[in-house]
């Protein structure tokens, strides 16, 4: 029993020794670990990391690194070339944003209109710290009365109403953004079946130059086209093909139709092929453009090899409607057999 204090002393000595050893070991290991990590020479994949910073122009919120679309993959090829050429990240990104319209940086800069994005979280964090520190120092005094004081309600209610208004206003803006533009809002451009040609003409005349009008023009032109009235269809397809607001799909449709009319109406093989190529320059995957080009090559230019290659190309294209496959296959047989086209 008499050696109790001695043993305690011994224990605290050994405890202290253990602490010293632990601290030393921890320090040595931490320094080694940091050194190992800092001297890591394996480079991150620059092509991927640049690709992740650029939004794919034809996709919905995907970066070009993640999108499987043809355009995104072309852009990734450009990035890879430039990385191999030793250009800096910023230079590559500037060039891409300059040369592909619709490409947007997904990594907003801490400047201008996106400065808020970076500042707000920092401010929120600081505010949070201030609030917590203040809260700890200021205990609430309990008031058992359930009746709130009326004069406090007024400013709070005003604030709440103001906030609610902001939410609703902001939201209705968002809704508008998704809806059709106001100029042609009265007519649903998606469903034109019930609209007469006269109405369409009037709407187009009233809204000439408005981006939303291209869809209407295409629908009207389609009717003339279907009725074999190329003369009336022509100006509308031409307008859409030249319209700066037309979407890629609309432009391709217009160019393809113009090409077909050039061949079918005027037997202008060269013009037709040029127009198809123009359409394919916008969307190299367009099945219609390739199909019609193949038809003109077959029937007009007599270039059977080229026509067959194109047709086979289409046959395995996932965009080709399933029920059209049989027809394409039959026509390939016909081209191979050297049959003249109808």
């Amino acid at each position: 029993m008499s050696d109790g204090p001695h043993r305690n002393l011994e224990r605290s000595m050994s405890e202290r020794l253990r602490n010293v050893v632990t601290v030393t070991v921890v320090a040595v290991m931490a320094v080694t670990l940091v050194t190992l990590v800092v001297t890591d020479r394996s480079q991150p994949d620059r092509v991927q990391s640049i690709g992740q910073r650029i939004k794919c122009p034809v996709c919905q919120g995907e970066s070009i690194a993640n999108s499987p679309s043809a355009m995104a993959r072309d852009m990734m090829d450009v990035v890879a070339e430039k990385v191999a050429a030793g250009e800096t990240d910023d230079a590559i990104i500037d060039e891409l944003l300059g040369s592909f319209s619709g490409a947007v940086l997904l990594d907003p800069p801490a400047a201008g209109s996106t400065l808020v994005l970076w500042l707000a979280p920092a401010i929120a964090l600081m505010l949070g710290v201030v609030v917590i520190v203040w809260w700890r120092k200021h205990p609430t005094e309990h008031r058992p009365s359930p009746r709130p004081r009326a004069r406090r309600i007024v400013p709070i209610a005003l604030l709440a109403v103001a906030f609610g208004t902001i939410v609703v206003v902001a939201g209705s803006f968002l809704q508008d953004r998704a809806g059709p533009a106001s100029g042609v809002a009265a007519i649903d451009t998606e469903n034109l079946d019930d609209v007469s040609n006269e109405t369409m003409k009037a709407v187009i005349a009233a809204n000439a130059g408005h981006p939303e009008v291209d869809g209407m023009r295409l629908a009207l032109a389609q009717r003339y086209f279907d009725a074999n009235d190329y003369r009336l269809a022509f100006p509308h397809y031409l307008a859409v093909a030249q319209s700066p607001d037309a979407t890629d799909t609309q432009a391709v449709t217009a160019l393809v139709r113009l090409g077909w009319m050039a061949w079918d109406g005027n037997a202008e093989v060269e013009t037709a092929l040029e127009l198809f190529d123009e359409a394919l320059a916008i969307d190299e995957g367009s099945v219609t453009a390739r199909y019609l080009k193949a038809q003109v090559l077959w029937c007009g230019a007599g270039d059977l090899d080229e026509a067959e290659t194109l047709m086979q190309d289409i046959l395995i294209d996932p965009d080709l409607p399933v029920d059209s496959r049989e027809q394409v296959r039959r026509e390939i047989e016909a081209i191979r057999a050297g049959t003249a086209c109808k």
Partner: protein
């Protein structure tokens, strides 16, 4: 007939919800007793009939319903025909209503066992929410409209009147092909909704407590179980969404900070903060006002998420056609925010708790830091998701906010959270003695650094991976250390063996240890993400038949293209031999499924203990070639395992919490 049945169910549900509000308010104003279970039964009966009518219509191909005509096709196979019931806007609201009715019924059953004013008020709040959702169904998102003018495929003109003379189309276009590609589509939405909608329960109790001016942790205690259930399902829903994206949709990734993903992450983050700060209120009688704010925010974020994804404001696989549901949801969101915070502001003095953290070096201090980090995290996601929309709406300026932005802020926040997660559970309440904290920290720190060093020496020197492993081992080490410390104490006091003692400790505070299991899961998720995000490799290649490519030790030989026709789709794919050295590992068949005109790729994923090898058929540029992308995702299974572990912790906590109810002790230094 089915239109009538469904409409009737819908209206019965609205009636039940109205009855619930009326009787609930009366009971809450009186002595608290009332027949609310009856009203809840009417509500759930109506919801079940509505959902049943919808499912039957899909099963029997009843194309007289506009919903069936426009979202279903006779060729759609089981179970996708049933799942179509929630594959489009109107149907998804029916599912939402059904789940809400289920939770309401559950709350009403508990109320019947012990009726009181708080329970009655909460049920009235749930009734209001139910009126809104079933009201949506009856007005702007009516799933039981009858087709009065059929197109060749689908329907162009509809009528809400169930007996209108129907013009029945012969077939419909079928559900969204992306959603038709995998069974997960049938499972993912109900699970996510069990999470989203479950957050209504704590919200209802919070509003009930505020309206009655009832202070104290009663509302929190009563809604705790529902919160844990909802949180667990929300976690599972997010996990399944990520797994689906990775395994089926062939994005090659599991998370892309897509607005729709963000919409589910925001309520998850705030609900997670709430689960933690709720413990502080129950144990230390503080933070009640903060808890109310968190609950209101969680509920509001679920509505905001629904608005963002369902109104067409954001285009994605989850958004449906433009409809009047956007303004309705937005109005409801504004009403919720204004009403709740107005109520909060006028009653805050009553419900505010007087407890304060003595020091930040304490369990409650760690919880405060955890809450700060989680809410800032949610705020980052919120601002990153909505700012581009708001900016474009007001100024027309287009800015992109994507992965790089989120990663720059979320990664440091996540590592800070991991650090706090390591210290929190081993820090005692009240005021932590520095000596005790040191004794509990030193071993985990040594082990974590040793494992980190081993990883750096043997596996990779990538900083993010090493940091996540080191921090992760620290978190797990401190949890295991705490378990052994407490079990050791038991062994010293009683005659139990170590195994028995460990079991006794685990069951003695089941909820705490279930939470720690979730922590382990989160650690695994972090490590899995660090590996996949930093050590994955990627290659895009064009191959012709007979051609081959070397990638990460594999040789891939393109054998031949193939094509298969099914009733609802055509599959075009590439047959590839995957070799390791000379040994054939497998024949891989990445493919593209074509539904009508839409192509949906299906990747081929080879799973292995070291990670996945992922092959996608990107394009078929000519009949004789295939464009493939090859990816490796090292250790990706750790991510899935971690997610499941987190969910398991949630479900265990839900079972455990019932057994231990501790009174809130007065602030003093307590050793866990």
């Amino acid at each position: 007939m089915l239109a009538f049945l469904g409409s009737a169910g819908m209206l019965v549900a609205v009636f039940g919800a109205g009855l619930l509000v009326w009787r609930g308010v009366a009971a809450a104003r009186g002595d608290g007793a009332g027949d609310l279970i009856g009203a809840a039964r009417v509500l759930i009966a109506g919801a079940v009939v509505a959902m049943g009518a919808m499912v039957i219509a899909l099963l029997v191909d009843d194309f007289s319903l506009v919903y069936t005509a426009n979202h279903h096709a006779a060729a759609t196979p089981f179970p996708f025909n049933v799942a179509t019931a929630w594959a489009a806007l109107e149907g998804s609201i029916v599912l939402w209503g059904l789940v809400l009715a289920g939770y309401t019924w559950f709350v009403a059953a508990r109320y019947r066992r012990s009726p009181d004013r708080l329970g009655a008020a909460s049920l009235a709040v749930m009734g209001v929410v139910a009126i809104f959702f079933f009201g949506l169904m009856a007005t702007v998102a009516n799933p039981f409209e009858v087709c009065v003018e059929a197109a060749e495929i689908g329907c162009v003109e509809s009528s809400w009147w169930p007996f209108a003379a129907a013009d029945i189309p012969s077939d419909g276009p079928g559900p969204n092909p992306l959603l038709q590609n995998h069974l997960m589509m049938a499972i993912h939405p109900p699970i996510l909704y069990l999470g989203y909608v479950g957050m209504t329960v704590p919200f209802a109790y919070a509003i009930g407590a505020l309206a009655l001016g009832v202070a104290g942790p009663e509302w929190l205690r009563r809604s705790h179980r529902s919160t844990v259930v909802a949180w667990s399902f929300l976690t599972l829903g997010i996990l399944l969404g990520g797994w689906w994206a990775y395994e089926v949709l062939s994005w090659g990734g599991y998370w892309a900070w897509d607005p729709v993903e963000n919409a589910s992450l925001m309520p998850w983050l705030v609900a997670t903060a709430f689960l933690h700060s709720g413990i502080v209120q129950q144990r230390r009688n503080m933070l009640q006002a903060w808890n109310l704010i968190l609950v209101i925010s969680t509920f509001s974020l679920t509505i905001l998420g629904t608005f963002l994804t369902r109104s067409g404001t954001i285009n994605s696989v989850h958004s449906f056609t433009q409809s009047a549901i956007g303004p309705a949801l937005l109005g409801f969101l504004a009403l919720t925010l204004v009403g709740s915070f107005l109520l909060f502001a006028t009653r805050a003095e009553v419900v505010a708790t007087s407890g304060r953290a003595k020091t930040f070096v304490s369990r409650e201090g760690a919880f405060l830091i955890n809450n700060l980090l989680l809410t800032i995290y949610a705020f980052v996601v919120l601002i990153g998701t909505t700012y581009p929309l708001i900016l474009e709406a007001f100024t027309g300026t287009q800015v992109g906010v994507g992965e790089p932005f989120f990663n720059r802020l979320a990664v440091p926040l996540s590592f800070l959270l991991l650090l706090v997660m390591g210290f929190g559970p081993i820090t005692p309440w009240g005021e932590a003695p520095p000596g005790l904290l040191w004794r509990r920290t030193r071993n985990p720190v040594v082990v974590a650094l040793a494992v980190g060093l081993a990883a750096a020496a043997l596996v990779t020197r990538n900083g993010w991976v090493v940091l996540s492993i080191t921090l992760g081992v620290f978190v797990i080490g401190s949890i295991v250390g705490l378990l052994f410390e407490q079990a050791g104490k038991r062994v010293a006091k009683t005659d139990q063996r170590l195994g028995q003692a460990i079991r006794a400790v685990l069951t003695g505070d089941g909820a705490f240890w279930a939470g720690q299991l979730s922590h382990v899961g989160v650690v695994l998720v972090a490590i899995g993400i660090a590996f996949a995000a930093n050590l994955g490799t990627h290659l895009e290649v064009d191959l012709e038949p007979g051609g081959s490519v070397e990638f990460e030790g594999y040789t891939i030989v393109y054998e031949s293209p193939f094509q298969q026709s099914h009733p609802s789709k055509t599959t075009i794919g590439s047959r590839l031999s995957v070799l390791r050295g000379d040994r054939l590992v497998t024949i891989a068949e990445p493919a593209v499924n074509i539904f009508n005109d839409t192509a949906v790729p299906t990747p081929e994923v080879l799973h292995g203990p070291g990670g996945d090898f992922y092959i996608t058929l990107l394009d078929i540029p000519s009949p004789e070639s295939a464009t493939l992308t090859l990816d490796t995702s090292p250790m990706i299974w750790v991510l899935w395992l971690g997610g499941l572990t987190t969910v398991a912790g949630g479900f265990l906590a839900m079972r455990a919490r019932r057994h231990e109810r501790r009174p809130a002790p007065e602030p003093r230094a307590i050793d866990v």
